[in-house]
């Protein structure tokens, strides 16, 4: 699985951090998304996909 984020689209709602804290974080200075791992291991795939589904700004793209 490959994950891409679009920081320009992000609105800092933090849904991704709640859903997959091992994959996403938020920058301290502006609250925008940070990708911690580009290719999450198998056990984080479901959470990562859920994060992409929750993101209100469609700022997370998951390629399988």
């Amino acid at each position: 699985m490959k994950v891409r984020i679009d920081v320009d689209a992000c609105v800092g709602a933090g849904q991704c951090v709640l859903a997959a804290p091992d994959v996403f974080d938020q920058r301290d200075d502006d609250g925008m998304v940070v990708l911690l791992v580009e290719d999450p291991p198998a056990h984080l795939e479901a959470a990562t996909e859920h994060a992409a589904l929750l993101c209100p700004a469609m700022a997370i793209v998951v390629d399988r």
Binding site: A13, Q15, V17, D30, G31, L54, P56, A57
Partner: protein
């Protein structure tokens, strides 16, 4: 490609605003019909225009992420009789701004609301909840859970966060009730607005002089340091938005969800037995109750399609969050409360670029309340017949006006 359908006229002539009094937790029954029919119905709204009513979950998400819709009359002016739809957007009015102006302002605020920042407030919030429960238990019931618990907790939290003196609460709490009414008297509205603006202007002027270590103070500094200095007017509008959105919504959620759970003893027993359930329970109750109950209003700035329906520039659209949250195709058995349901994809905080900025704060406040209230007061029950509870049918945010409750002496 499927054929494009143009505006289905519904049997329903006007936007449904009334609930079945027998089920005050359910949205108006007409929403079931709206979800079932093809396309979107064009319905007459109390404000005096027709709007496309978007009620299915997928359509609501599609609508709220469409860049050709403006929020200038958001959140719910469509249900305000005598409401003004073409008022110029006040500088600093995050809810009503579009495009880059909105993004710029939102980014200045977002660091205050990250998951990390809000989690750091959890011990403080837990302490507040416990202090209020101690105070309740030191008394004998009945008490009004709204006045003595649901309203003070989120008010204290937002005051602490913003840097507002809680002792000044009489300068904004009552005014808020007027400002969120859908049929408030225009003179009273004007007066309430003037009072809140006066109060916030004073506060902003003090903080501009000496920025304090609170949200407003830090915002002033952050804006200056990044060369995006905010005007007094912008700061006042933002401050008022946060103050109102920060206490009124969460307070109503606490009151209404407590009542709904008292009516579902099996679910309540599960929560009492396992306070960890508060995590999923909060999102499920947000979904089930959808307190921004009239949905959110947008206007098309260009031609677009929602689902397979054409919308013309200038048309009004309402995303009915409460209808989408009861969409069976996404939430099976949607009319039932299931505190174990994974409901985080609900629409109660909206969707798209305006999705609630304060949602992580609201979640933590509600989680602490859900986990502590029923643990500490296991015999909590209504002190009046259910039929006597008054619901806020005429407010932009749904809830109960008062919630008289009592408990057994041994809980203390």
């Amino acid at each position: 490609m499927s054929e494009t359908k143009v505006g289905t006229r519904s049997e329903l002539g006007s936007f449904p605003t009334e609930r079945d009094p027998r089920c005050p937790f359910d949205p108006p029954t007409e929403y079931v019909e709206l979800r079932a029919q093809e396309g979107t119905a064009s319905l007459a709204c109390p404000v005096g225009v027709d709007a496309r009513v978007v009620s299915r979950y997928d359509d609501v998400r599609a609508m709220l992420t469409n860049p050709h819709l403006s929020s200038h009359a958001a959140p719910s002016t469509h249900v305000v009789a005598g409401g003004v739809l073409d008022r110029p957007v006040a500088p600093g009015s995050l809810l009503n701004m579009d495009g880059p102006g909105h993004a710029r302002l939102r980014r200045l605020l977002t660091p205050e609301f990250t998951v990390k920042r809000i989690q750091a407030m959890r011990p403080y919030i837990r302490g507040l909840v416990d202090d209020h429960l101690d105070a309740l238990l030191a008394r004998t019931g009945p008490v009004d859970l709204v006045a003595d618990f649901a309203l003070p907790i989120p008010s204290l939290v937002i005051c602490e966060l913003l840097g507002v003196d809680y002792a000044d609460r009489d300068r904004f709490q009552e005014q808020t009730a007027v400002l969120v009414g859908t049929n408030s008297d225009p003179a009273a509205l004007e007066q309430a607005n003037l009072e809140v603006v006066g109060f916030m202007t004073q506060l902003v002027l003090t903080k501009l002089e000496t920025p304090t270590d609170d949200l407003l103070g830090r915002l002033i500094v952050r804006a200056r340091e990044t060369g995006q200095e905010l005007s007094v007017e912008e700061l006042v509008t933002l401050g008022i938005t946060l103050l109102i959105a920060g206490h009124e919504t969460t307070a109503n959620m606490i009151g209404l969800s407590t009542l709904a759970l008292l009516r579902q003893p099996d679910q309540l027993a599960a929560l009492r037995a396992d306070p960890e359930l508060a995590g999923t329970a909060v999102d499920e109750m947000l979904r089930y109750l959808s307190i921004v109950h009239f949905g959110v209003l947008r206007q098309a700035t260009g031609d677009l399609t929602i689902g397979d329906e054409e919308i013309k520039a200038g048309e009004w659209l309402v995303a009915v969050l409460s209808a989408g949250n009861r969409d069976e195709s996404v939430f099976p058995d949607a009319d039932r409360i299931d505190l174990k349901r994974e409901a985080t994809a609900h629409l109660a905080f909206g969707y798209g670029i305006h999705q609630c900025l304060g949602q992580q704060l609201a979640r933590v406040e509600l989680q602490e309340v859900f986990a502590r209230l029923h643990q500490r007061i296991p015999t909590l029950r209504l002190a009046v017949p259910f039929e006597d509870i008054e619901f806020k049918d005429n407010a932009l945010v749904y809830g109960v006006r008062a919630l008289p409750v009592t408990w057994d002496g041994e809980d203390a």
